[in-house]
């Protein structure tokens, strides 16, 4: 106790949201000449400062879009803050989206070495731990099958097994405590608890207050990019419940927890809101049966619009996630509305 391992000083993060995305040279030059290159500034984080001491288990609470993931990414070194400084002492194990570094063409065994290397483990270490990883992931014979043929649960299991094989000083958990089936979940929880016992510092993001209460001894609340509260977990959880959950339910029904889809939260939210807006459905209201149409029909009708919008919006290369994301959004909105 007492030793600072993570120090976040006046961190702000600015995103430039281009009004219409320019990603080819022709448009860029034309807009540059016409002086139409406009950016809309968006501060995802505003002047955040806090320190985490060794052995602290910090819960990060906040509504969707409050900047939790951005903050974690900055601490993990994936994003660079626009202003401010983050100092981290010790080895970080980021359990963000599990298995994101996998190559689909590679077999599970090959991916263990690749993903291990991505996480910065030395070769000998991976070789030494190889059997343990395979065993923990429960993949058995499938370890020699290309990852593209894996189910999402298998991928997550392997990702979890590799990422947690080290004994990290700092563990970043972004809603990953729900990987795979119940049996594996129990096992993964045990492994994380073991890490806690060994005195790992934990940064934990969750929407489930019970989880935060159970795991963390300290918590902070982010709201629209600002740090609004910092203190012992129980107090903060209570405060969060009072102020935010209530406020949220005034506008929207509280979102149900979804398994292991931590990082997609943000995207999902925007899409599902689009869906419900386009359908003209008030998320608060249930669809009455005499409305004539079945919800599935309405969704089917509007699906293509949403799809095309979604795809033009995110023409990134990792389109593997898209169908899943949309499906989630749809199923979300269905479950919200039913």
């Amino acid at each position: 106790m007492g030793k600072e391992v993570v120090k976040v000083e006046n961190v702000s993060m600015k995103f430039n949201l281009m009004e219409n995305k320019v990603d080819n040279l022709k448009e860029y030059v034309i807009k540059l000449i016409k002086n139409e290159l406009r950016y809309q500034e968006f501060w995802a984080l505003k002047d955040i400062s806090f320190t985490v001491n060794k052995g602290d288990r910090l819960g990060i609470l906040g509504l969707n879009g409050a900047g939790k993931s951005t903050l974690l990414k900055i601490i993990a070194g994936v994003l660079k803050a626009t202003e401010g400084k983050v100092t981290v002492k010790g080895k970080i194990a980021p359990l963000l989206e599990l298995g994101a570094g996998f190559d689909p063409q590679y077999t599970g065994a090959e991916n263990i070495y690749l993903y291990g290397a991505v996480l910065g483990y030395p070769k000998d270490f991976i070789r030494e731990k190889y059997n343990e990883i395979v065993e923990f992931s429960e993949l058995g014979e499938f370890i020699h099958v290309p990852v593209k043929n894996y189910s999402s649960g298998m991928k997550a299991r392997l990702g979890f097994a590799i990422a947690t094989i080290v004994e990290p000083d700092i563990l970043i958990l972004d809603e990953v405590l729900s990987v795979g089936d119940a049996k594996f979940r129990k096992k993964s929880e045990k492994r994380i608890m073991d890490m806690f016992d060994k005195g790992a510092t934990v940064l934990f993001v969750s929407h489930t207050i019970e989880q935060v209460m159970a795991i963390c001894n300290r918590a902070i609340i982010l709201d629209n990019g600002s740090l609004v509260a910092d203190g012992p977990a129980e107090e903060i959880c209570k405060l969060y419940e009072e102020k935010f959950i209530e406020r949220e339910s005034g506008a929207m029904k509280p979102r149900k927890e979804k398994d292991g889809k931590a990082k997609k939260k943000k995207k999902k939210k925007t899409v599902s809101v689009e869906v419900s807006e386009e359908l003209g459905i008030d998320p608060e209201k249930k669809i009455s049966k005499d409305n004539g149409k079945n919800i599935n029909e309405i969704i089917a009708e509007n699906m293509s619009d949403v799809l095309s919008e979604f795809i033009t919006e995110k023409t990134s290369d990792n389109y593997e996630n898209k169908p899943e994301g949309i499906a989630d959004a749809i199923s979300d909105s269905i479950s919200d509305n039913n």
Partner: protein
């Protein structure tokens, strides 16, 4: 600087893994596998020889060697730069989730292309014996053009990787530029027969090819060509490094 070296050491293994991955996946599911590295230059050289033999006159029996030397260097340059250009985009999943020094991606692509290129040099050795161009002591100097082409490709790769993040049409533009480079590099014709010599001064790889041919044919290194090719290579590397380092923190916002 020292922290950069420490960081590089930490990720050296990742660099190796990624390089290995690029090579492995290139030939996975092909029956002949890595043999294609040898077959491809043999086949293209046969085609080019048949097509262009009349330019050179039938008297020159070493024409296939002439083509092969140019063709091998060019195909490395084109393959390596194209791969490096796409590297940031194709690894976007990883870049968004885990911290890894970003230059690892273009560098690993250049390295894997280079390994394949070095293997394909076996074809050149074989051809030299068939067409009786026997190696002299000058062949030892061939490491100079071979190193320069690596530096040049790395420089161009870094520049292109950075630009391709912000502008997707770089890929198409570069395809066209590569074609231009190929036709003005005197791969399958004699440079001396061309009136407009300035064209060759604009070509970044031409002077490297000249010196590589000198080494193979047993001539000394051409000093002017060496200076020009060094200027191109180090300028490209310098610009590439600066551009990449200044823009790398923004990559994640665009991919």
């Amino acid at each position: 600087m020292s922290s950069a070296i420490k960081n590089f050491n930490k990720y050296k293994y990742l660099l190796m893994e990624l390089t290995k991955k690029n090579i492995k996946l290139k030939y996975r599911r092909s029956y002949l596998g890595i043999l294609w590295t040898l077959l491809e230059p043999i086949l293209t050289t046969i085609v080019l020889t048949i097509v262009f033999i009349n330019f050179r006159g039938k008297s020159d029996h070493t024409f296939p060697i002439y083509i092969l030397t140019g063709r091998l260097l060019y195909s490395f340059f084109s393959h390596a730069t194209k791969q490096a250009m796409k590297s940031i985009r194709s690894n976007s999943g990883m870049i968004k989730k885990v911290y890894v020094p970003k230059y690892i991606y273009p560098l690993s692509n250049i390295l894997s292309s280079y390994v394949i290129f070095v293997i394909s040099l076996i074809v050149l050795l074989g051809a030299m014996f068939i067409f009786k161009v026997y190696p002299t002591k000058y062949i030892l100097y061939s490491f100079i053009p071979l190193t320069l082409i690596f530096i040049l490709s790395l420089g161009f790769g870094m520049i292109l990787a950075t630009l391709a993040v912000f502008f997707r049409d770089m890929e198409y533009l570069w395809d066209v530029t590569l074609m231009l480079i190929m036709y003005t590099a005197a791969i399958f014709y004699d440079a001396a027969k061309i009136k407009d010599q300035w064209v060759f001064y604009c070509n970044p790889i031409y002077h490297i090819i000249v010196n590589f041919r000198n080494c193979i044919y047993g001539h000394p290194i051409d000093m002017l060509a060496l200076k020009i090719s060094m200027a191109y290579s180090f300028a490209a590397l310098f610009v590439g490094l600066i551009l990449f380092y200044r823009k790398q923190d923004k990559f994640i916002l665009y991919i």
